[in-house]
């Protein structure tokens, strides 16, 4: 079995960091981009700019979801690890009590 080690605070900070990234990406929205043939004097280009803006916005939404997903999964992993530690400690505590009773300590 592989060795395992982690600092819970480090995981929590990193999860917070990814939520900050999501916040930064929310500010990178392409809003109020001028479109329309009157602006570009070229119908196909005007339509193209609209499509490109939409595609880039779809990507941004996907990136925000990914950043939040990373943070959420880090939290989930940390919670599982903490729970395992707690359960492990409790089990070991019980075993220690039984051992003490058996050995009369």
């Amino acid at each position: 079995m592989d060795t395992f080690e982690v600092d819970y605070a480090d995981m929590q900070d990193t999860a917070t960091g990814f939520r900050d990234v999501a916040t930064e990406l929310r500010q990178a929205a392409l809003v109020s981009v001028p479109v329309g043939q009157g602006v570009y004097a070229h119908a196909r280009l005007a339509s193209c700019v609209g499509e490109v803006v939409q595609a880039l916005e779809d990507r941004r939404a996907a990136l925000i979801a990914s950043a939040e997903g990373l943070a959420e999964n880090l939290d989930t992993c940390r919670t599982v690890y903490v729970t395992s530690d707690t359960v492990g400690e409790a089990v070991i505590g019980e075993l220690t009590k039984i051992w003490d009773m058996v050995t009369g300590r």
């Binding site: 930064e24 004097a41 196909r44 280009l45 490109v52 779809d58």
Partner: protein, 404 residues
């Protein structure tokens, strides 16, 4: 309509600003590590984080590229808009004079010249807009709706659609005929590139350049192809051609290899996005290119084009789009199977590129269609169009002339 350059610039600035903010998010994401974390789950996390940062970088680059393209168009729009406004004012002033004196020849000349300038500038602006749109579409070419709802672990943006390919034999270079009449464009819309490759095959020097810029790599079973980016050589590895693309005598050939390299160079999923012969010639030869067009009052620079052909330069002519249908039906001169020249009726294809084989003193031009032999428009082989038809049908000639 001359557009609104300030609003176009605003669109560019918004893209650049979004790109900068996305870049900052990328810097933040790059620094996010869980240094103390070991074990299998940590490996999965690091892999996902790396892909996420890579996607942020892609998004940053595409936003900035879009900003650059839109900025360039804004500049062009402003310049051409000024020309259009001036031409419009000159037309109005000329008509005012003509109303006063209908027999004023100078006023009539001014009106006609200004009208010509107006039409030409409008055509150039349309061309600029098409170029910008093509380049913008290329940025998002590989996106699909599957991008939506991407969640952890990110799947990444979909790979460009996998193109069907053909194998490239190691003896292509050895067996190549370098005969432009053996080349056929196939089903990909890259006439501008294939006509340019065919133009190179027109001279021994061009053949040699195509040969020198190809090298078979036995260890990797593919070809190294040298192209040029702003005159600087760049190399691409090509081990497969595009199925349905260019062939020579029906088989993968030199044009197939260069076509695949150009596809990599241009970053297109395929080469169906259109392009300009002057760009293709520059990428293929590393030379600066120039263009000829139908100058107001002066017409085509027949002497210049003749001189370029005589000097061994590569010339490719682009057709306009017909007002009706897709082709022009004209009478042309073509070589018969017996070798004599004969007058034939054939079609010249609109929005297409042709290799220029020869320019006659009277302004008539010998052309070669990259569609190759037995094609449905002209049957293949060089044909000559009259100077009058050339004026009607063609709008630009790209040339590598003047670089020797």
């Amino acid at each position: 309509m001359t557009g609104d350059p300030s609003s176009v610039l605003l669109a560019a600035q918004l893209h650049r600003s979004a790109g900068n903010l996305t870049s900052e998010a990328g810097v933040t994401a790059s620094s996010l590590q869980v240094e103390t974390w070991t074990g299998l789950a940590s490996l999965a996390f690091r892999h996902t984080r790396t892909r996420f940062v890579s996607m942020l970088t892609d998004q940053t680059n595409d936003l900035r590229s879009a900003a650059d393209l839109i900025t360039d168009y804004a500049v062009v729009l402003r310049e051409r808009g000024a020309v259009l406004e001036t031409a419009r004012a000159e037309v109005q002033a000329g008509w005012a004079k003509l109303r006063t004196n209908p027999l004023d020849p100078r006023a009539l000349f001014d009106v006609l010249a200004a009208q010509s300038t107006f039409r030409i500038t409008q055509a150039k602006l349309r061309s600029d807009g098409d170029y910008t749109a093509d380049a913008l579409y290329a940025l998002i070419a590989s996106d699909t709706p599957r991008t939506w709802g991407l969640t952890w672990p990110p799947e990444g943006w979909p790979e460009p659609g996998s193109l069907q390919t053909v194998e490239l034999d190691e003896d292509i270079l050895e067996n190549a005929s370098f005969d432009q009449e053996n080349v056929s464009q196939g089903g990909i819309g890259d006439c501008y590139a294939i006509a340019s490759i065919m133009a190179l095959m027109q001279t021994n020097e061009g053949d040699q350049q195509l040969r020198d810029n190809l090298r078979w790599d036995a260890a990797r079973s593919g070809y190294w192809v040298t192209l040029y980016d702003d005159g600087e050589p760049v190399r691409y590895f090509v081990d497969k051609g595009q199925l349905g693309g260019a062939t020579e005598n029906g088989q993968p050939g030199i044009a197939t290899i260069y076509e695949a390299a150009l596809s990599q160079h241009l970053g297109f999923t395929d080469l169906d996005d259109g392009g300009y012969p002057e760009d293709a010639l520059a990428v293929l030869t590393g030379s600066s290119t120039k263009t000829y067009d139908d100058r107001p009052w002066l017409g085509w620079d027949v002497g210049g084009m003749r001189s370029d052909v005589a000097d061994g330069a590569q010339l490719v002519a682009s057709t306009r789009k017909p007002d009706n249908g897709d082709t022009w039906s004209i009478e042309a001169t073509q070589r018969s199977t017996g070798g004599a020249n004969e007058t034939v009726t054939l079609d010249v294809v609109g929005a297409h590129a042709y290799t220029i084989v020869k320019v006659e003193q009277d302004g008539s031009v010998w052309l070669l269609n990259p569609w190759g032999s037995e094609n449905s428009a002209d049957g293949g082989g060089p044909f000559r169009v009259s100077a009058k038809d050339f004026n009607t049908i063609f709008h630009t000639v790209a040339s590598t002339g003047g670089n020797s």
